[in-house]
Amino acid sequence: TTKRRQTDLKMLPGLCLGRTVRHLRVLGRAWKRWQPRLEGDSSACATLPFTMPKRYLVTSFDPSHGLTDEQIAIQKLAINFARNEMLPNMAIWDEKELFPVDTMRAAAALGFGAVYASEEFGGTGLSRLDASIIFEALSQGCTSTTAYISIHNMCAWMIDKFGNKSQREQWIPQLASMEKFASYCLTEPGAGSDAGSLSTTAKKVGEELILNGSKAFISGGGDTDVYLVMCRTGSEGPKGISCVLVEKGTPGLNFGTKEKKIGWNSQPTRMVIFEDCRVPVINIIGDEGQGFNIAMKGLNGGRINIASCSLGAAQASIEAAADHVKVRKQFGKPLSSFQNSQFRLAEMSTELVASRLLVRNAATALQDDHPDAVTLCSMAKYYATEKCFNIINEALQLHGGYGYLKDYSVQQYLRDSRVHMILEGTNEVMRILIARHILAD
C-alpha cells in the first residue's frame, strides 16, 4: 500500500479497480468542490481544486479517459499518425505483404522506435503505460505493423536494460531511429512453449561464439538487421542460455523462405538458421547464462504491448460495427434497433473496457516493479488477446456478408489479432504462469 500512496494520483485508477471517483462536469453546471471517495486509502487523494480540467479519472470506452494531459497529447499524436500514415495503407500492406520501412522510420522519428528505453542513449524514456497507450492507438491504423514496432521496441529495451555501455552506445541510437530493425529470436522448431529447452548452441572458441541451430517464426526475420538470439552457451535448462546479438550479413546466418500467413502480412516471418555462425563473444548481452531471464523480462513488456495492439484492433472494430448497424437496414429498421445487435455491442464494449483495465493495470504494475507484475502481465495478455479477438469476430458478424469482404477492415483486424493469442507466450502458458503464482506456498 505504501507504493500506492506514492503513485501519481492520475495513475490510481489503474490500480484501484473497485473504487468509485466522482468527476466534475464542467459544462453547464455550477462549480462544485470535487471530492473523490476512496474506500480506505484517503491519504493519497487530496481535494482537488475546482478548476480541475475535465479529465476523467476512470478507464472507459473512450481510450483517452483516465490519462494525464501528457498522455492524452501522446495518444493524440499516435492516433493522428495512425489515421494519416497507416490506416490508408493497411489493406495494401496486407495484400502485397509489404514491410513498410519508410512509415516505420517516420514513426521512429517521432520517438516511437524505443518508447520505453531510457533517454541516455536515445530512447524516449516513457513509461510502460505510455507505451501501451501508443501501441493501442497505432494499432487502429495497422495492427500488424504496430505489433512489429512493439517487438522492435522490446528488443531495444532489452539491449538498453541489460547491455553494457558500449553495446548501448552502438545500438540504441540506431534502433531508436529505426535506421536498423531488430528481431527477437527465442522460439525454435522443437522449442515453443518449452522455450527453456531450446537447442541452438553457441560454443565458445577463443574470442568467438560459434552458433548452430535454427529459430522459427521470427518476426522481421530476413529483413531486419539485428537479431537478439537466445542460445545455449552452458548446460541444459534455462540457466545455460545466453542472449547474443547477431548482425545480418554475418557469415553462417541464413534465412528460410518467407512464411505465408493468414495475417501479420506487413511483417515478414522467416526461420533464422545458424550454420557455424561466428559471433564475437562481446556480443553477449548481459551475463552468460542470463539470456533466459533477459528473454522473459523482455516478454513481460512484450505481452502488454501485444495485448495493447489487440485493444486497438478491437476498438476500431466495435466502432466500425456500431456505425454499420446504424446504417444497415433490414425488415424496415436499422440493425441498431434490434435487441440482438444492442446486446452484442453491449457485451463487446464491456469486455473491451475490462481488457483495457487489465492491460493498463499490468503496465503500471510492471513500471512500478510490483511483486505480482509477471502474473498481472500474463493475465492481461491472455484476457485481452482472447476477449479482443472475440470482440472483433462479433464485430465481423454484425457486418453480415460485408464483414467477410476485404473492402472492410474488420476482417484484417481479425486476421491480424488472431496470432496474439499464440505468440509471446501462448495463452495456455499465460495460464501456467498465473496458476503457479496462485498455487505457490
Binding site: M52, K54, N80, L110, G111, F112
Partner: protein, 254 residues
C-alpha cells in the same frame, strides 16, 4: 532578429467528429466530444515555427482563449515548437458566445503588450467559419493584413505574401508589423515528436482573463436557432437532355 510572433490557436470540435445539434437548438453538442486545435491554426503555428527555424523570428507565443481545456491546445502548439503560451481564461458558457471581435481585441492588446510584430492566425475556425478575427485584429491595431496566405517570404522590412483569392493567386507586400491569416496550402504541419511533447510540459503558459486586458466579452449578438441542414432528398430522372435543361431552368440553376 528580435521579431516576436503571436499565434492564435482555437480549440474546436475535431474535424472527424459527426456533429449533432443540441436538443435546445441553440448550438451543437460539445460535452464529451473530441476536440483538437483548429486545423488552420495548426498551419499558423507551423509557419511561425518555420520562421523561427529560419531565424526570421525570435520567439513564438501561442495564445488561446477558452476554458481550462484550452491549455491542451496551447500544449500542442508548444510541442510543435512554440516557445511559450498565453491562456486567456474564458469559462465554457462564455466561450460559446465569444465573438471574433472579442478575440481580436484580446489579440490586439496582447500584441501590444508583448510587442509582437507579427500576428498569425488560421484563416477561419472550423466551428463558426467567421473568417473575421485576422481582419478585425488588423483593423484594431491599424496594421496591414495579408489574409488567405499560401506563401510568406520575408524581404528586408516587409513580407511578401501570396494570397489565395477567388480568381487565383495574388502577391502583395505588407510592411511589418502585420497580421497574417493562414490558408490551407501554406504548409503541412509537422507531427509533434514525443520528446517535444515531454519538453512542452516545462514551457511556460501565462494565464490571464479578458478583463485583465481591458476587454469586455459581452456578446453583441444572440444565436436564435441552430438546425441541421435539410435532409438530402431524392432526385428525379429525366428522359433526355432537353428535359434536363428545362428542369434546371425551372429551379433557377441556369
Amino acid at each position: 532578429m528580435s521579431l516576436k510572433v503571436l499565434v492564435g490557436c482555437k480549440r474546436v470540435i475535431d474535424y472527424a467528429v459527426k456533429i449533432r445539434v443540441r436538443p435546445d437548438k441553440l448550438g451543437v453538442v460539445t460535452d464529451g466530444i473530441k476536440h483538437s486545435m483548429n486545423p488552420f491554426d495548426e498551419i499558423a503555428i507551423e509557419e511561425a515555427v518555420r520562421l523561427k527555424e529560419k531565424n526570421i523570428v525570435k520567439e513564438v507565443i501561442a495564445v488561446s482563449c477558452g476554458p481550462t481545456q484550452a491549455q491542451e491546445t496551447i500544449r500542442t502548439a508548444l510541442a510543435m515548437g512554440a516557445d511559450r503560451g498565453i491562456h486567456v481564461e474564458v469559462p465554457a458558457k462564455e466561450m460559446e458566445k465569444l465573438e471574433p471581435l472579442h478575440v481580436s481585441k484580446i489579440l490586439a492588446k496582447l500584441a501590444e503588450k508583448e510587442q509582437a510584430e507579427l500576428v498569425i492566425v488560421g484563416k477561419q475556425a472550423i466551428d463558426d467559419d467567421t473568417n473575421a478575427t485576422a481582419q478585425m485584429t488588423a483593423g484594431i491595431l491599424n496594421w496591414p493584413q495579408a489574409t488567405f496566405a499560401s506563401k510568406i517570404e520575408k524581404k528586408d522590412d516587409f513580407l511578401e505574401v501570396i494570397r489565395e483569392i477567388d480568381g487565383g493567386l495574388e502577391t502583395i507586400k505588407v510592411k511589418l508589423p502585420a497580421v497574417v491569416s493562414a490558408d490551407l496550402r501554406l504548409n503541412e504541419p509537422r507531427y509533434a515528436t514525443l520528446p517535444n511533447i515531454m519538453k512542452a510540459k516545462k514551457k511556460k503558459i501565462e494565464k490571464m482573463k479578458p478583463a485583465d486586458l481591458g476587454v469586455d466579452t459581452t456578446p453583441h449578438f444572440e444565436v436564435i436557432e441552430v438546425t441541421d441542414p435539410p435532409a438530402r432528398e431524392a432526385g428525379i430522372k429525366v428522359e433526355d437532355v432537353d428535359t434536363l435543361l428545362l428542369k434546371l431552368k425551372e429551379v433557377g440553376r441556369i
